[in-house]
C-alpha cells in the first residue's frame, strides 16, 4: 500500500457547531469548508484513553438507494460491488470499479472519536446522501485477547465484521452514539485482526466510531492500528 507516512495531503478541519473535528485524508483533493495544516499519518497508531480506533481505509462512497430497514440494509450489503469486498485488505490509493465508476481507497486519520464520512465525501467532491461506505482497518494485538466486544456507533445503519465474521448489524435512520451497537464477546488474535464495516447513509450527516471493550466493559487499549502492509 502507499506508505502512509509519505502522505501529506491533509485536508479537513471541520467546524460542526461548536465541535472541532480534525481529520486527515490521504491522497485526495481538498474541498473543505475549512482548510487545515498537515496531519501526518504514521504507522502503528495506538488508541487513546477512550479506546477509539482512529485510523481507517475508506472507500469513496457507492451510490445506493439509501433505504435503512433491516432487510434493505442487508440486501445492500450482500450485493457484490467489487471483487472480494468482504475479504480485501486495500492499500491507500487502491482503486475499484463499481458500476462503471472508479472509486479510490483513502487512508484516514482522525483526532476525534469519530470519523466524519460526510466531510470525507464532501472533501472528495462525492455524494453524501444515499450512499454506502466501506471501511477497513487492522488492529494489531500483542497477545490473543478473548472476551472483548466491538462497540460502534454509526450514522446511519451499519454492518460490521471482525476477522471475516459478522458481529454487529444496526439498522434504521440513526445518529452516531458511542457504544450503540455492541458485539457478542469475541477473541482478538495475536497480531493483525481485520475490522471491516459497511455504513449506509440516507441523507444528511454521516459518521461512525468504533472501539473495543474489555471484559469489564472498559475501553480496550494496548493495541495499535495500522492500514499498511505490516498490518496484514
Amino acid at each position: 500500500m502507499t506508505t502512509l507516512h509519505n502522505i501529506h495531503v491533509p485536508i479537513l478541519v471541520v467546524l460542526a457547531g461548536s465541535a472541532f473535528l480534525a481529520m486527515a485524508v490521504a491522497g485526495c483533493a481538498a474541498r473543505s469548508p475549512v482548510s487545515s495544516p498537515t496531519c501526518s499519518i504514521s504507522a502503528g497508531k495506538a488508541p487513546g484513553a477512550d479506546g477509539f480506533v482512529r485510523r481507517w481505509l475508506i472507500l469513496e462512497p457507492i451510490r445506493v438507494n439509501g433505504q435503512l430497514t433491516d432487510s434493505d440494509v442487508r440486501a445492500a450489503v450482500k450485493k457484490e460491488y467489487f471483487p472480494n469486498q468482504l475479504t480485501i485488505i486495500p492499500h491507500d490509493g487502491d482503486k475499484v470499479t463499481v458500476g462503471g465508476t472508479e472509486l479510490t481507497w483513502h487512508a484516514v486519520d482522525t483526532n476525534d472519536y469519530n470519523v466524519n464520512l460526510y466531510y470525507f465525501a464532501y472533501g472528495l467532491g462525492k455524494p453524501t446522501s444515499n450512499v454506502l461506505f466501506w471501511a477497513v482497518t487492522i488492529v494489531n494485538c500483542p497477545q490473543k485477547t478473548p472476551g472483548v466486544r466491538l462497540a460502534i456507533g454509526s450514522n446511519a445503519a451499519s454492518v460490521w465484521w471482525v476477522n471475516d465474521q459478522e458481529v454487529i448489524g444496526i439498522y434504521g435512520d440513526r445518529q452516531t452514539v458511542i457504544d450503540d451497537g455492541v458485539s457478542k464477546r469475541l477473541t482478538l488474535e495475536k497480531g493483525p485482526n481485520v475490522v471491516r464495516c459497511a455504513i449506509i447513509n440516507g441523507g444528511g450527516a454521516t459518521d461512525f466510531c468504533a472501539r473495543f471493550l474489555d471484559g469489564e466493559d472498559r475501553p480496550l487499549k494496548g493495541f495499535t492500528v495500522s492500514v499498511d502492509d505490516a498490518g496484514r
Binding site: 432487510s71 462497540a151 454487529i168 444496526i170 457504544d179 450503540d180 451497537g181 458485539s183 464477546r185
Partner: protein, 504 residues
C-alpha cells in the same frame, strides 16, 4: 387507644389466628409467598446455611429453601410472643417475650443456638435469661423485641414495647446477647405503638413501628410507620417533624389490595444494595383471612424507606435506565399503522398543502390505530432462536414482553421465577449456550428461561436468569450498548443493570 388484654387473652387470640390460618382453604396466590406462610408476629427473616427462617408467636416457625416457598419449621426451645432474631458471631440469638401474669407485666427472654437447622448436631438452644422486663406498673409493656446491631459502631440494641406506654431501648452485649448493664435505665423512644425495630442507612437511624390494632383479621388497622434520628437514642421524628414520642410516624406501608394490616417490619438485606422487608398481614383475603408472612422490596426515596411492590405480571416494554432503549426481538419491525415515507415538512394537519386527505404530513391516518397484531407481523420472523437487541420503543410487537410467574419453578425471597416472552407468542427470553441473550421459539421451563426480578432501592428492576450455562457467578441483564444487551455481573453503582417495566 388499644385496650390492654390479659396476657392469656392476647396469646389466645394470636394462637387462634394461627389455627384459623392452618385450616383455611388455601388458594395459591400469584404474588404472595408460596407454601405454608401462616404466621403471626414473624421475626426478622434469618438466613442460616442457605435456608431462610422466621419465628412467630406461640412457638410457630417457618423455613424456606429459597425465600419463596415456605413450610412449617420446628418450634424453638422457648415459646412466647413476637420473637426477633439476630446473628452475632457464631450464634443465633432469639428473643422471645411473654407476659407474666397480666399485661403490662412482661419480660423478654433470650435463647441462643449455633444453628437454626434442627437436623444439625449443633442445633441446641441455650437459655440466656431475661434481657428486659416491665413490672406491670411502669408505663411500658416489655414484649415485641426488636434487635439492632449498629453498623456505625458495632453496638447492639434492643427496642421493645407494645402500646401500653413507651417503646424502650436498652443496650446489649454483642458478644453474649445479654444486657450490658441490667441497671441501665431504658431510653424511651416512641409511644403508643408496638412491633418495632431499628435500621440504619446513610447516617440515619430509622425506627419502624406498628400502629393500629392487631389480631382482628380483616378488621385490623395495623400499619407500619417510621421516624428517623441522627442518634440511635432518638429523637425519632417523622417527615412532619413530629416526634414518635408524641405519636408521630410516617406511613411506611398500610393495607393494600387484598391483604390487610401489615405489621412487624423486618429487614432482609440480600447484599449488592438489594434490600427487602418482611412483615405479616393480619388477613390475606385470598387465604381465608389468615395471618401470613410476606416479603417485599424495600426502596429508598429522599432519605426515607419506601415499601415497594413485588412484580405484577403483565405486558411491558422493558427499558434500560442507562440507554433509554427497549429490549426487543432482533427482527425487522413494522411501524404501527403501516410504513410511511418521510415527506416534505411544512404542511400542517389539515392546513394548506394538506393534500387530498385533508390531514397533511402530520395529520396521521385518522381514527384509532389498533395495537399491532403479533400473529400478522410475526409471519416474517425467523423460526428457531432469534437474537435479542435494544431499540427505541415504537410500540411494536417485538418490543412487548409478557411477564408471567412460573408455577412450581421455585423462586427467591418474595417472588417466584418469571417467564418473559413476546406477548402473543411463546418466543421466550433465555440465556443461550454462548452466555448471551436469545429468544427461544418455545418455553420449556429450563432454568435458563426463568428470570428473577428484584426491585432495587430506586424503584428500578434487576433482571437475573436463574441459570446461565457459561457463568460461574450470578449474572444480570446488562445494557452494554444502546442497541445491545448482555449478561454481566451486577454492579450496584451502575445504571447498566437497572431496568424499567413500562406499561405499553
Amino acid at each position: 387507644m388499644n385496650p390492654i388484654h390479659p396476657a392469656e387473652s392476647l396469646l389466645f387470640v394470636r394462637l387462634i389466628m394461627l389455627l384459623m390460618g392452618s385450616v383455611a382453604l388455601w388458594v395459591s396466590p400469584v404474588f404472595a409467598l408460596d407454601g405454608q406462610v401462616q404466621i403471626h408476629d414473624p421475626s426478622t427473616i434469618m438466613q442460616c446455611n442457605g435456608k431462610f427462617y422466621t419465628y412467630g408467636t406461640g412457638g410457630s416457625s417457618l423455613v424456606s429453601d429459597d425465600g419463596w416457598t415456605w413450610h412449617r419449621g420446628v418450634t424453638p426451645a422457648r415459646r412466647g410472643m413476637a420473637p426477633d432474631i439476630i446473628h452475632l458471631g457464631d450464634r443465633y440469638y432469639l428473643y422471645v417475650a411473654a407476659n407474666i401474669g397480666g399485661q403490662p407485666r412482661a419480660a423478654v427472654n433470650m435463647i441462643s443456638s449455633k444453628t437454626l437447622d434442627p437436623n444439625s448436631p449443633d442445633y441446641k438452644w441455650e437459655e440466656g435469661g431475661i434481657v428486659a422486663s416491665s413490672n406491670g406498673v411502669e408505663f411500658c409493656n416489655a414484649i415485641d423485641p426488636g434487635l439492632f446491631l449498629d453498623p456505625a459502631d458495632g453496638k447492639l440494641w434492643l427496642v421493645y414495647g407494645s402500646y401500653f406506654g413507651y417503646l424502650r431501648l436498652v443496650q446489649l452485649d454483642p458478644k453474649t446477647g445479654k444486657r450490658v448493664d441490667p441497671n441501665d435505665k431504658p431510653v424511651d423512644i416512641a409511644i403508643n405503638c408496638e412491633a418495632s425495630i431499628l435500621i440504619y442507612r446513610d447516617g440515619w437511624y430509622y425506627l419502624l413501628a406498628t400502629h393500629g390494632s392487631c389480631c382482628r383479621g380483616a378488621d385490623s388497622g395495623y400499619n407500619i410507620r417510621v421516624g428517623r434520628a441522627r442518634k440511635v437514642t432518638g429523637p425519632f421524628l417523622d417527615h412532619t417533624g413530629l416526634d414518635m414520642l408524641l405519636g408521630g410516624g410516617k406511613l411506611f406501608v398500610g393495607s393494600g389490595g387484598r391483604v390487610i394490616g401489615p405489621g412487624h417490619f423486618g429487614l432482609l438485606d440480600l447484599g449488592d444494595g438489594v434490600q427487602k422487608y418482611s412483615c405479616h398481614f393480619e388477613a390475606d383475603l385470598d387465604r381465608g383471612g389468615a395471618s401470613v408472612v410476606d416479603i417485599r422490596p424495600l426502596l429508598w426515596k429522599d432519605g426515607w424507606p419506601v415499601a415497594g411492590d413485588n412484580f405484577k405480571e403483565g405486558v411491558y416494554a422493558v427499558e434500560s435506565v442507562r440507554t433509554g432503549t427497549a429490549l426487543e426481538l432482533a427482527v425487522e419491525g413494522v411501524p404501527v399503522g403501516g410504513r410511511r415515507s418521510r415527506g416534505a415538512r411544512g404542511a400542517t394537519p389539515g392546513g394548506p398543502g394538506a393534500g387530498g386527505s385533508g390531514r397533511g404530513m402530520f395529520g396521521g391516518q385518522g381514527g384509532v390505530i389498533p395495537p399491532q397484531d403479533v400473529a400478522e407481523v410475526s409471519k416474517t420472523w425467523p423460526a428457531g432462536n432469534v437474537g435479542i437487541r435494544m431499540s427505541n420503543y415504537l410500540c411494536q410487537a417485538q418490543q412487548m414482553w409478557d411477564v408471567t410467574p412460573v408455577a412450581n419453578a421455585g423462586g427467591y425471597p418474595g417472588a417466584p421465577y418469571f417467564k418473559i416472552a413476546i406477548a402473543g407468542t411463546d418466543r421466550t427470553l433465555a440465556v443461550g449456550e454462548d452466555g448471551e441473550l436469545v429468544a427461544v421459539p418455545a418455553f420449556t421451563g429450563g432454568h435458563e428461561q426463568l428470570w428473577r426480578l428484584d426491585q432495587l432501592a430506586d424503584g428500578t428492576w434487576r433482571i437475573m436468569p436463574k441459570f446461565a450455562p457459561t457463568a460461574r457467578e450470578s449474572l444480570t441483564l446488562s445494557a452494554v450498548g444502546s442497541s445491545f444487551a448482555t449478561l454481566a455481573k451486577f454492579d450496584p453503582a451502575s445504571d447498566k443493570q437497572r431496568w424499567l417495566f413500562k406499561t405499553p
